[in-house]
């Protein structure tokens, strides 16, 4: 009963087993860009609808504040996704920048790498999307 870990029979395909979440991970790398896409669509749709219909009903400041709050939440989410991906990439642990080998572990780390870069691009994209909101305060 008190067999230590060393005595355990290794799983025949341990490495694959350990990194078995690859399918899920493939989805996960699209999270950053998806948030970016929603940010873009929501911001532009909200401002166009506001300028088309509701300009006289309430101040644009409210809309801007709401959208900027949404932006901050999305930036935090992207940063978190990026950080998780960075850990999966594990460049600091392994010192391996690229993972070309195609073993399960390599795939795991590669997906981390890709997810991290996509999160970075998404973060920049969301910041760029938001600049008009900050700099242009009106419908003109």
């Amino acid at each position: 009963m008190d067999r230590s870990d060393h005595d355990r029979q290794p799983h025949p395909r341990e490495d694959e087993h350990e990194f078995a979440e690859e399918r899920e991970s493939l989805w996960r790398i699209t999270l950053g860009p998806t948030i970016w896409a929603f940010h873009f669509a929501i911001s532009y749709a909200a401002v166009s609808v506001y300028c088309f219909r509701f300009e006289r009903m309430f101040e644009m400041g409210w809309l801007r504040a709401g959208l900027i709050a949404m932006t901050l939440a999305m930036l935090v989410a992207i940063a978190w996704i990026g950080w998780r991906a960075f850990l999966r990439w594990d460049v600091r642990g392994t010192g391996e920048f690229s993972n070309p080998e195609g073993s399960a572990e390599d795939r795991h780390q590669f997906l981390g790498h890709a997810g991290f870069l996509l999160a970075l691009v998404s973060f920049i994209g969301v910041v760029y999307d938001t600049l008009p909101l900050i700099l242009l305060g009106s419908c003109r």
Binding site: F97, L120, V127, Y128, L131, L135, L136, S138, R140
Partner: protein, 333 residues
């Protein structure tokens, strides 16, 4: 040293002859680089910023190529390569594009400021411009193929089109704006320096697109007010025998079915309003001058000057008849 005569390379020499011509094109009354208004100035600055920035980048990139292929062609360390990618490939473009975005967004409110001057409705037709000034008292002053603006205030343009897409552009005064059938687009321009500039349709709209231009005169505000007052008035009655005969011919030939001359039975709206055509700077949307000779040329055969022009030729009229019509039109000041 005696120069050896070398007859070769004539093409090259021709190109040199052309160079000053190219520079000359930057001067003048249709140049975005010689701004005569606020908007053109902002756009001119934008052009120079982009041009100088692009040249610096180009020099920098080529410097790097030179360094990597000639000065230091050996493999570089992994660390250097990584930092090159992180700084040169991510950080630098992100910051540069971000700065350009901020710059671009910061000039947008200036370019789209609301007008505090006259409101002018311009409709693109094939191939001319219908121009209507909306006055404070609710009346409209109709003219064509020429736009006059007071210096120092922002005029508002409400742009529309009859059939196809045109684009309204006076490079010396500002940017361009497309004109769509059935949808009014709005633009404001703040001219500063009085003078006569040239506008041009900037969206291909059919065979005479290139001949669809107009004159844009920026005037001192008092002069503008006086001009608009005169423009609002009915046409002057023809003076002298020739012009009177011309006026009668104008009606008899049916010109009034398409053209309006306010104060006469001619009330057509198919073609340009001719009430004050004699005071314009050009004829047929910048195609001809405004001498009697030009009127004769145009009326006798519009299609010769503007292929596809939607005005019939009057070549069957005698020279005397054409001269009479020209005298009448020239007198409509």
């Amino acid at each position: 040293m005696t120069p050896t005569p070398r007859p070769a390379r004539p093409r090259y020499r021709h190109a040199l002859w052309l160079a000053p011509l190219l520079l000359a094109a930057c001067e003048g009354r249709q140049s975005a680089l010689v701004p005569a208004g606020e908007d053109a100035r902002i756009l001119g600055d934008l052009f120079w910023v982009m041009l100088i920035g692009a040249v610096l980048l180009w020099i920098g990139m080529n410097g790097l190529f030179y360094w990597a292929t000639r000065r230091s062609p050996a493999p570089h360390s992994q660390t250097l390569a990584n930092w090159l990618v992180i700084i040169g490939g991510i950080l630098f473009p992100t910051v540069t594009l971000g700065a350009l975005l901020v710059y671009g967004l910061s000039i947008m409110p200036d370019l789209r400021a609301t007008g505090d001057g006259p409101v002018i409705r311009v409709t693109g037709e094939q191939w001319w411009w219908r121009v209507e000034y909306e006055r404070a008292d609710g009346t409209t002053v109709t003219t064509a193929n020429e736009i006059r603006l007071p210096a120092g205030v922002r005029s508002t343009f409400l742009l529309d089109s009859k059939k196809v897409i045109h684009s309204f552009w006076v490079p010396s005064l500002g940017g361009k704006m497309d004109m769509f059938p059935g949808r009014v687009t709005e633009m404001t321009l703040g001219p500063e320096r009085p003078g006569i500039y040239r506008g041009q349709c900037a969206e291909f709209c059919g065979e005479s697109h290139a001949w669809m231009a107009f004159e844009a005169e920026v005037m001192e505000p008092e002069d503008f007010d006086a001009w608009l007052e005169a423009e609002a008035a009915d046409a002057m009655p023809p003076e002298g025998d020739l012009a009177q005969r011309g006026a009668a011919l104008f009606l008899a030939q049916g010109c009034g079915a398409c053209h309006a001359v306010r104060g006469t039975p001619a009330v057509g709206r198919v073609g340009p309003d001719l009430t004050h055509v004699g005071s314009r700077h050009s004829l047929a949307a910048g195609r001809l001058g405004t001498s009697a000779e030009d009127f004769v040329r145009w009326v006798a055969n519009p299609g010769a000057w503007k292929p596809g022009a939607e005005m019939p030729a009057y070549a069957h009229l005698s020279d005397a008849q054409l001269a009479a019509i020209a005298a009448y039109l020239e007198g409509l000041e």
